[in-house]
């Protein structure tokens, strides 16, 4: 029977106390493990959301969003300087316009109440600035949106989440040809096929492809090469928005700074990571909660064990004196108590690991649901305009990540749990060892 086996035996000497300590400690260790797993899971999700969003910066004319607002658009000249900024890998430019009278196309959407309301609001503004009296008598048609771009592959810039060609092919974004790809709803309404032409801006525009963008609104528009639309719509040199692709996340901040310097207050500059910050805020919240809880649980565990060992050492003060009197060194006595502490802690870890395995997912779901309801409404409202530019995929991606959060137990996490337990045991035994060293064997001679 050595110090190790004595320590082991002593751990179960007082059954009720040992059981109570093990139960409390196992809750502490279990919570430590749950929060650690939560932390790792959430960090993994944050990293995957960030990498899926990519490194894009949106440059919009100040004061203008889509067709709302006022001010001046960006120009070809100012945008051409963007490519020369260090770290910029791609520059996607877009220009938008509305067609109502100046096209042969019929809109695929009926106005409905909403459309008529928008038109009445526009008419009242026209009337107030001494427009022709009969403008209110014009039959109302929904305007048809045209978006022009230099790169059809950057669909986020086109405010759509998908671009599936159902016929024909995409055009070259750098072309000056008066060609277009038409949404499926618009094509059906106007009986357009690949090779058809339609009139817009008093010119013939040839249909080279038909697309499905996944929703009625998006399928009621058409896309053209930007240079062609600039000429046709008499908006030479004008650009609605620019999406700047940066080669790596590290360069994002420097490119944003360079753009802000270049454009000053003429443009709003927003990076995807800024927008994404709103979207992953719930995840960051959960991460903070997990971290503080993890640290709190570990400290609680160490304190519980520390106080328990102090109590045990004081209780067995005389016994320690006897051991020293019959020839034991401080080291051997301390080792015995350290083993006792380790047995309590490892027993608690085993129960704690089992608790952590079963409870980590339910607790993670509670954390997620309490954070999701607070944050998603806010982010939708605040970031709406920028979300339009960056693409709905950012928000839905982050919200999907939140829904998909589930902790997985792996061997490494169990090993981390045991490591945490051993650390707690060491901390819990170290200070009582000082008390042990101070006990004089002469104490055994004193009457009880």
């Amino acid at each position: 029977m050595g110090a190790i086996s004595r320590g082991f035996k002593n751990a179960f000497r007082n059954g009720v106390r040992s059981l109570s300590v093990v139960l409390i400690l196992s809750i502490s260790i279990g919570m430590t493990l749950i929060m650690f797993m939560s932390l790792k899971t959430v960090q993994g999700k944050i990293d995957s959301v960030k990498s899926s969003i990519g490194n894009t910066i949106s440059v919009s004319p100040a004061g203008i969003r889509g067709f709302e607002g006022g001010g001046d658009l960006l120009t070809n000249d100012s945008v051409s300087k963007i490519s020369s900024i260090d770290g910029v890998s791609k520059v996607v430019t877009t220009l938008m316009d509305h067609l109502s009278d100046n096209t042969s196309l019929q809109p695929s959407q009926d106005a409905g109440n909403f459309g008529r309301r928008q038109q009445m609001s526009t008419n009242s503004q026209i009337n107030s600035s001494s427009a022709p009296a009969d403008s209110a008598n014009h039959e109302f048609r929904m305007p048809i949106m045209v978006t022009a771009t230099n790169d059809l592959s950057s669909i986020a810039s086109l405010n759509i989440s998908q671009l599936n060609m159902t016929a024909g092919e995409k055009f070259d974004g750098n072309s000056t040809d008066t060609v277009a790809i038409v949404g499926s709803e618009l094509a059906t309404k106007n009986s357009l096929t690949v090779g058809s032409t339609f009139q817009a801006y008093s010119k013939d525009i040839k249909v080279v492809g038909i697309f499905d963008a996944g929703n009625k609104f998006a399928n009621g528009q058409f896309f053209m090469p930007i240079k062609a639309l600039q000429v046709l719509s008499n908006q030479q040199d004008q650009i609605n928005s620019v999406a700047v692709q940066v080669s790596t996340v590290d360069k994002l901040d420097s490119v944003v700074a360079a753009l802000k310097t270049q454009f000053g207050d003429k443009a709003d500059i927003v990076s995807s990571q800024d927008t994404e910050k709103e979207a992953v805020a719930p995840l960051e919240n959960i991460k903070s909660i997990s971290l503080y809880s993890l640290v709190g649980s570990m400290i609680a565990g160490a304190v519980i064990l520390f106080l328990t060992m102090i109590m045990i050492v004081r209780e067995r003060r005389r016994e320690i004196g006897v051991l020293k009197a019959i020839g034991s060194s401080n080291v051997m006595v301390t080792a015995q108590f350290a083993v006792e502490a380790m047995v309590l802690t490892i027993s608690s870890s085993i129960i704690g690991i089992i608790l952590g395995t079963f409870l980590s997912n339910p607790i993670l779901k509670v954390l997620v649901s309490s954070n999701t309801t607070q944050r998603t409404a806010g982010s939708a409202a605040d970031g709406h305009a920028m979300m339009m530019k960056m693409g709905a995929s950012v928000v839905s991606g982050a919200q999907g990540a939140l829904r998909d959060l589930s902790a997985t137990v792996s061997i490494s996490i169990i090993l981390y749990g045991l490591l945490a337990a051993i650390l707690i045991a060491i901390i819990g035994s170290v200070i009582p060892s000082f008390i042990i060293a101070k006990i004089s064997p002469a104490e055994v001679m004193r009457a009880e």
């Binding site: 029977m1 050595g2 004595r6 035996k9 002593n10 000497r13 005389r318 016994e319 006897v322 051991l323 020293k324 009197a325 019959i326 020839g327 034991s328 060194s329 051997m332 004089s440 064997p441 002469a442 055994v444 001679m445 004193r446 009880e448």
Partner: protein
Amino acid sequence: MIKIQDLSKTFKSGEHDVRAVNQISCEIPDGVFCAIVGKSGSGKSTLLSLLGALDRPSNGSIEVDGTNIAKLSDTKLIKYRRDSIGFVFQNYNLIPNLTALENVMLPLEFKGIAVSQRKIRAEKLLEQVGITGIKQERKPGKLSGGEQQRVSIARALANKPKFILADEPTGNLDSNTGKIIIELLKKLAKTANTTVIAVTHDESIAKNAQMTFTLKDGKLVKN
């Protein structure tokens, strides 16, 4: 041979110093059964602590076979206690969750004796003091006072010590059992040539000793 020279031990009690052991000088030859008597507070237990190297004297020396144990370092003191001294206490002071056999094996473990040899020696020692068979596997709670003291004596003998220091060994025992224990100690002193120093307030035990020292207020009066 133990040679004690001007041995003193002073404790602080509030603002005053208390001389528990006051300038004691004497010699104790090997192999004797020696009694130290005195009333409560006479300094007997303190003297035993000093002889057993459980405490350091404030002044003076204790020479054991030429070595002054009062000057030994802490590490050497531990070794000295382990190898040269066996303790028998009034309250037995056995480890309550170890069996009689495991209690006797303890000092052998501290000396580094192999497990199998520890067990054999411990069994022999227990047989020597009259604890045999199933009783060796019992924990102290299941043994009588006399049996516990016997186990305590066997433990004290484990490392073949030079001295056995017994602090009121019969204090918690009835008179008959007490006599048996004293006889056992005397027999062992003779057969093993071990010096037995027993502290007691029981004058009847002193009568059985080969040497008796009487303590009064920390000072020695030799009979």
